[in-house]
């Protein structure tokens, strides 16, 4: 399989005012979860615009896919991989769960969770998923439970899981304007399925960005409500894109369409950019009502492993995942993202 042999070299430690770059060893105990000291440096933003710091080389195995690619997606993540950390990385667009410095699971409010992919794909019914979470969630062995029950084959679970993981991670590692935090010791209730090295995840995320850019360089269709464009003679579209096109109604965004179809969100972005390139889809005019859909669907399923929606962290994570309501801020973010993509 695709194992990455070389661990990333130690990062140049940036001196920060609060000295948060190196976490003290005693924080690895789960008992320290609520200690305020487990917040790693709040200055660790990950958008790499104008960042002078030469981040660690990502994946020495293959060359970077394009010269315009930023050197590292998240210096913090590389550091956690190097120190073989276990816990959860909380970022603006979701979470990455690490065990021994490898990614075990990823969740993002932008993407359908593993439960949606499994149930909508017809592999599992919702009832049984709930039962599995209820029975094995506390032991953090839901994945194992599903396989042992004989309802899902190990291969199918792995494929669905790795698909969901890379899908969520694409959004988690996307441009962000909020500080990232890491909580040592937190473990996801799904349990181990197939861990992914950080270098492989970063490489794939960068490849996906480049892929989208190559199809259609305008990222507007990724997040805005969409309408069908009036093409004089609509060329036939492949069935999978046709299903996406059928969901476009002037209000739904890419994330809404993914959930409705039970497909990975990145796949929807790809299909939408192809449809935009073909002139079949464009963003809804500004006069359309802003999106009102609640954007925190799949994360709240089942016992969360650390804190549910009502846990002590709920307000913070709600704050972290909430899209900004200020139009100026979102405009500036889009502008920054567009400049970074150049």
């Amino acid at each position: 399989m695709t194992a990455i042999g070389t661990p990333p070299p130690p990062l140049p430690v940036r001196r920060k005012p609060n000295g948060g770059a190196q976490a003290p060893a005693d924080l690895t105990s789960p008992a320290d979860l609520t200690s305020p000291a487990d917040l790693t440096s709040p200055t660790d933003l990950t958008s790499s615009a104008g960042r002078p710091e030469p981040a660690a080389p990502v994946g020495a195995v293959t060359p970077a896919p394009s010269p315009a690619v930023p050197p590292g997606l998240s210096p913090m993540l590389n550091r956690l991989a190097a120190e073989r950390a276990t816990g959860v990385l909380l970022r603006e667009h979701g979470r990455l769960y690490l065990v021994d410095g490898r990614i075990m699971h990823a969740e993002s409010p932008e993407t359908p969770g593993l439960d949606v992919l499994l149930t909508m794909g017809g592999l599992l019914d919702t009832e049984f998923w709930r039962e599995a979470v209820a029975q094995a969630g506390a032991r953090r062995r839901v994945g194992r439970f599903l396989v042992d029950s004989g309802r899902v084959s190990e291969g199918a679970l792995e494929l669905c899981h790795v698909g969901a993981l890379f899908d969520a991670a694409y959004f988690v590692l996307g441009p962000s304007s909020a500080p990232a935090r890491f909580r040592y010791g937190a473990v996801h209730w799904l349990g181990p399925v197939r861990p992914v090295p950080v270098a492989a995840l970063e490489r794939e995320t960068l490849r996906r960005r480049a892929l989208l850019h190559r199809i259609w360089p305008d990222p507007a269709t990724d997040s805005a409500p969409l309408v069908r464009a009036d093409a004089p003679a609509e060329p036939p579209v492949p069935a999978r894109q046709g299903a996406v096109l059928g969901q476009v109604n002037g209000a739904r965004t890419a994330a809404d369409i993914s959930r409705a179809l039970g497909r990975p969100a990145f796949h929807t972005l790809v299909d939408l950019r192809r449809l935009a390139a073909a002139g079949l889809v464009r963003t809804a005019p500004a006069a359309a009502p802003p999106q009102t859909s609640p954007r925190r669907p799949s994360i709240a399923h089942g016992p969360d492993g650390l804190d549910g929606p009502d846990g002590p962290d709920a307000s913070v994570s709600a704050l972290l995942t909430e899209p900004s309501a200020d139009p100026d801020v979102s405009l500036l973010r889009r502008l920054r993202d567009a400049l970074e993509a150049l």
Partner: protein
């Protein structure tokens, strides 16, 4: 009831002349698992590139109004066969198996048959 790794290992072990195999998601172009390959033959690159082959064929069929499904695609080089098999199972929507064969050592009919069997075992 194999996992991805065993299924790919089995493909390499049981198919005469096989030198590499990958399980690929053709919307994202990501290889969900690879086995074999070499320094000069990066299966991840092959996976991403061959998604364009699959997509082009699907689009052409759409233009022609053909309703059939693609079972597999064969590409014959002077010294290799590349075999692409689209997975049709319940959850396998949008995946394909990619197999590289040494032309001189392989039996194409047998390889296609084995690939079908491996797909069934993956149960995706």
């Amino acid at each position: 009831m194999a996992n991805t790794e065993t299924a790919l290992k089995e493909a390499l072990a049981s198919i005469e002349g096989a030198t590499g195999a990958a399980l690929v998601d053709y919307t994202s172009g990501m290889a969900l698992g690879t086995i074999g390959g070499s320094k000069s033959f990066d299966l991840n690159v092959a996976a991403a590139g061959n998604t364009d082959v699959v997509r082009a064929k699907l689009r052409t069929m759409e233009h022609l109004g053909l309703k059939g499904e693609i079972e597999d695609i064969l590409i014959t080089l002077s010294d290799q066969y590349h075999l692409i098999r689209l997975l049709t199972g319940r959850g396998g929507n949008g995946l394909f198996l990619y197999l590289v064969l040494d032309l001189k050592r392989s039996n194409l009919a047998m390889a296609r048959h084995q690939l079908k069997k491996i797909e069934a075992e993956l149960e995706v």
